[in-house]
Assembly symmetry: C2
Homo-oligomer: 343 residues x 2
DNA sequence: TTGAAAGCGTTACCAG
DNA sequence: CTGGTAACGCTTTCAA
């Protein structure tokens, strides 16, 4: 029982039919007489036959698997991403392969190698080089997740720049702040790059001169604490507001600021991006931009799944809307209205 | 170029040799004359031949893949787990399949299905039923990650109970606290169950009566905030200390307590478990237990990899040591000594 | 409706 | 050293 060493051939012999018939029955394809079907089903049941995935995949020339590639695996953003991706893949009977490149030397090769084991791949923006992305796309359907696509590679992303412009304008106009610092490394990821551009754009729209440089740091809470040290460390005046590239950074800055005895938002305004679960829970709750991370990844999976079934047609990229979430860390009173940035 | 539609047979024809020779060259197995090797290599290079993974896997009767199964995918614990697992699998040229069951109805079937696509599986404790675990183990090598093993299934875990006893004793003896609350659901996972037992055990060792019930909650920061509401909400006296099943809960309780104007640790002592990155960064920094999560997962991957190569031998389980990390949230002054719980 | 046989792409055994 | 050929387990024509 349950031993999966049983093959079609054995079942065929046992049931006194051909392997073709066994295959037809076990797949529900073609026409099989009631009598045959019964005999086969019986044998399948009795010996616990389950078709071997490799044999099947080889014959179908399809792996029944999707790949997901990202740089690291830090924070709630990536866990959401994985779960969103999985939520589409699993019902489609595709298993999910993951690969964290950690930006290793040989990561491009590893991605290429993964492509040989799956039917399609989603790559988080900024993870691999453009030439590699192109080569990848020659092998399997590819979509860029949270990044810019290429001619042959569609992308799913959110409206980062407009969202960040909205948030920054809120600080500049509604709160009359001027001395803002942007925390995040635009070179690290397309998301951050677009947010930094949106941040600067808010100044431009008001004929103000934006800061010329962001505070370049990675995206974890740890880095936020570091940012607080740099910004509030003593030498030089502290900024009026810290605009963070994501919530984790913001949470780190918040912890650092609070730990120094500063009051937020009275002494320092802090904003995030993502609307991670903790953003609403801390005190003061974080003003941020909500982005549909799960949906983003689900959309990517859907795109790939479709491309696998209908090869040749390169679908358009997709941009998902975000929502500006005003809470108290920007200086607004509790219970302020929130507004989306639109589609 | 780069087109992976090229097969051994074509290369063989193109190079004027047999498929066997091509195979030998591309795998570096057997003896091949310099002349042949050169010809084959040339053709391989010219047509960008890469052996097909499925064909190879079918012939070798090995997938070159490992599976990792867990309930959800919340928080830093699971991201560490994945990365630790990957750090062993990737160098061994095995890809990593993941599956979040979300405790779905059909998750047992999904796990069984996954087992048909990989060479071995690591299952996080408490994710699937024991019968399913047993059936799984009939199919492929399995190891339980952070949980109890079975006769045929080894487990890798940490010394949860002694560690939690040490921490609790510290509160009871060194700080003279008596009214502690344990937050976490022992039914949810073996880890929590053991920690709850260790918590109670500290009381027993001192001939004290432990609380009979924990505050049963899930393991995310959100739940910690919930715990703070319940515990500090007004009706009934607040406890002296909240002993959390993990750091995320503790962080949530901390946020909730601070938000209510309580001072930590003066008004309320809070402890965690895991030593997540944030534990050291918040204010006050969290007293907790450090567990080697990455190492745990890496060990699991190694165990499986070995079992794949040497089938039949059921290896022993492994228990990794933890380290008690005393910081300020328990009431100790800054810079207190820390101590391990030993092997 | 059924079965024989030809793949799918690779590896490995066995002669030569 | 080299090549022919038989697996590996399955699906799918193509005839009967």
């Amino acid at each position: 029982m349950g031993n999966s060493r049983v093959t079609v051939r054995e079942i065929a012999r046992l049931a006194g039919v051909s392997v073709a018939t066994v295959s037809r029955v076990s797949n529900g394809t073609g026409q099989v007489s009631e009598e045959m079907r019964r005999r086969v089903l019986e044998a399948i049941e009795k010996y616990g036959y389950r078709p071997d995935h490799l044999g099947r995949a080889l014959a179908a020339r399809r792996h029944g698997a999707l790949g997901l590639v990202f740089p690291g695996l830090s924070g709630p953003y990536f866990t959401e991403l994985i779960q969103g991706f999985e939520s589409e893949a699993v019902p489609a009977r595709a298993s999910v392969h993951i690969l964290c490149t950690h930006l290793r030397e040989d990561s491009d090769d590893q991605v290429l190698e993964m492509a040989r084991r799956v039917d399609g791949v989603a790559v988080v923006g900024g993870t691999i080089s453009e030439p590699t992305l192109l080569r990848l796309a020659e092998t399997v359907p590819v979509v860029v997740l949270a990044g810019r696509g290429l001619e042959t590679v569609p992308a799913v992303s959110v409206d980062n720049a407009p969202a960040m412009t909205t948030l920054t304008r809120h600080l500049l106009v509604d709160h009359g702040l001027r001395d803002l610092v942007f925390v995040g490394n635009p070179d690290g990821s397309p998301d951050v790059s677009e947010r930094w551009a949106g941040f600067q754009n808010a100044y431009h729209e008001l004929d103000l001169a934006p800061p010329t440089e962001p505070l370049r740091l990675a995206m974890q809470q740890h880095d936020g604490v570091l940012a607080a040290e740099r910004l509030l460390g003593g030498d030089g005046p502290a900024p009026q507001a810290v605009v963070c590239a994501n919530d984790e950074l913001a949470l780190g800055v918040l912890v650092g600021a609070l730990g120094r005895g500063l009051r937020v938002p009275e002494d320092l305004v802090i904003t995030g991006f993502d609307d991670a679960p903790m953003a609403a829970l801390v005190s003061p709750p974080l003003t941020t931009v909500r982005q549909p991370v799960r949906e983003l990844a689900a959309e990517a999976a859907r795109l790939i799944l479709n491309a696998v079934d209908a090869p040749g047609v390169a679908p358009d990229g997709i941009v998902l809307p975000t929502e500006f979430v005003v809470r108290r860390s920007c200086g607004c009173p509790a219970g302020s209205p929130t507004g989306g940035t639109g589609k």
